[in-house]
């Protein structure tokens, strides 16, 4: 993120403006990925007219960066009509797609409409692995063909490599493929629960030893010793910091008009079919609650050595049952990175331990060098 964009984000926070939003146009999909968190049936998607009205409201509310995602966005027959309308409202548009339906004509149209970036999910450089995850034979070949079309139009393409047990060994291959195709590369080692609360997908997460290896791969994290160093002491002023941008300068709207703080934070704040976008943004009691939470309010996390360096996702915490609680997936990442268990992990271990003969105690005040590059490195590995 550029310094200017970060500054604009901070200004948006001060002004209470929803600077960025994700709108899922459909949950239908032409792939059936094993780790997907969505129900792909159509339960009554917004019509073209409803979406256009929402886009107008979003523009009036100040949304600048608008991400269209799904499901598979190109399954909507009115996709380009929606995109054209969004561009006429001068949004900065980002797309997330599997790109299977993108051919030369679609790539050229995306270029004409000045889409800022196209993020494409690629799980492996090996068809047998990628296609096994998407459950669609030939899907890797089609996605790669699409990337070539998009790059030939000069578009910015980001290959998003979600990692799980099935493909954990392939990230170097995907990164090399991205380089060969002229695409940017990002990886994310977190598999989330389904939006309906079903946690079966979480079992696909790669596990601690794989994360440990990833976090020590200097190709991705830079200086591994620095990246994996113990967290610096928590400063008092940091306890007043915000957890993330969800609900503060960012939000998410589902294909059915449900308004959430983030796609990973399924706390319904209203529905744009019944209320104006700006009214939900300003007046939702749920959003007000989300906005009131500071690090010091988090049970466990506020006393945890990882407090200010943890990548804790409030949405994942919410799905675990408490938006003021820990996100265990992030506790596990902090542990895999530093070898220091979080307060939450220690509490879980204590509860599940059949014997209390051995007591593990949290290191009370970890000292160490401040990781000035942490944010950058964490972003680089998609944390």
């Amino acid at each position: 993120m550029s310094a200017l964009l970060r500054e604009m984000g901070e200004r948006a926070l001060r002004l209470g403006v929803p600077f960025s939003a994700q709108l899922d146009l459909t949950y239908r999909c032409n792939e059936q990925c094993v780790h997907c968190y969505l129900d792909h049936d159509d339960h009554g998607e917004m019509t073209t007219a409803e979406i256009k009205n929402l886009l107008k409201e979003m523009a009036e509310a100040g949304v600048f960066i608008l991400t269209f995602s799904g499901g598979e966005i190109f399954l909507r027959k009115d996709f380009f009509e929606i995109l054209e309308y969004a561009r006429s409202l001068t949004f900065c548009i980002k797309l997330k797609t599997n790109a299977v339906l993108i051919r030369e004509a679609q790539a050229a149209r995306l270029r004409e409409l000045e889409v800022q970036s196209v993020q494409i999910s690629i799980y492996s450089h090996r068809p047998e692995v990628h296609d096994a995850i998407t459950k669609v034979k030939g899907s890797l070949r089609r996605s790669i063909t699409a990337i070539r079309f998009l790059k030939s139009q000069g578009l910015k393409v980001i290959m998003a490599n979600v990692l799980m047990k099935e493909n954990m060994q392939d990230y170097h291959g995907v990164r090399a493929l991205a380089e060969e195709l002229g695409a940017e590369y990002t990886l994310d080692p977190t598999i989330t629960p389904m939006m309906d609360g079903n946690r079966s997908t979480v079992e696909l997460n790669a596990g601690e030893s794989a994360l440990r290896e990833l976090f020590r791969d200097e190709f991705f994290v830079g200086n591994a010793e620095e990246f994996c160093a113990p967290p610096p002491p928590v400063e008092t002023e940091s306890l007043s910091s915000l957890p993330c941008s969800a609900g503060h300068t960012a939000c998410y709207v589902s294909p059915y008009g449900e308004f959430y703080p983030c796609v990973q934070f399924p706390l319904s704040c209203g529905n744009v079919r019944q209320q104006r976008f700006i009214d939900i943004w300003r007046n939702s009691e749920q959003l007000k609650e989300v906005r009131s939470i500071r690090l010091k309010d988090l049970s466990g996390c506020s006393q945890c050595a990882h407090g200010t360096t943890c990548t804790r996702c409030p949405g994942l915490a919410f799905m675990e049952g408490n938006m003021r609680g820990p996100s265990t997936a992030d506790c596990e990442k902090s542990f895999a990175r530093t070898g220091i268990p979080s307060v939450n992990l220690l509490a879980k271990k204590e509860k599940s331990s059949p014997s209390r003969l051995v007591q593990i105690q949290l290191v009370p005040a970890i000292t160490g060098n401040r990781l000035s590059g942490m944010a950058t490195v964490a972003t680089a590995v998609g944390l």
Partner: protein, 111 residues
């Protein structure tokens, strides 16, 4: 001189400033309140001197010749980055929905 906002940009008001992203290379710009007034008035059909006279000089204590010189410099600078179109004749920019059908680039800067 006539000026028009390029249809190939992304833009949004944030507080009193305009945030503009070039579609060409995703470079981000912020326009201060004065530049924002000029930007918003750049409809392709109103001459720049009229914009300066009616929108700038009426709101700010500035000599018309100084305001015009600054406005021309700003317009040329923005045109260099592809976020504003400038021409000696009125500019007819196509709406974004028509761009697909167009076989030619929109009106080029002609200075």
């Amino acid at each position: 001189m006539y000026v028009a906002r390029s249809p190939r940009i992304a833009a949004r008001m944030l507080g009193e400033e305009m945030l503009v992203m070039s579609g060409h290379d995703s470079t981000l710009f912020t326009l201060n309140p004065t530049a924002t007034i000029l930007w918003q008035a750049a409809d392709g059909s109103t001459p720049l001197n009229e914009i300066v006279e009616q929108r700038i000089c009426s709101e700010f204590e500035v000599k018309p010749e100084d305001a015009m010189r600054d406005a021309e410099e700003l317009a040329e600078d923005l045109a260099k980055h592809g976020i504003l179109l400038i021409a000696e004749q009125p500019i007819s920019t196509q709406p974004i929905s028509k761009l697909a059908a167009a076989t030619q680039e929109p009106v080029e800067a002609k200075r």
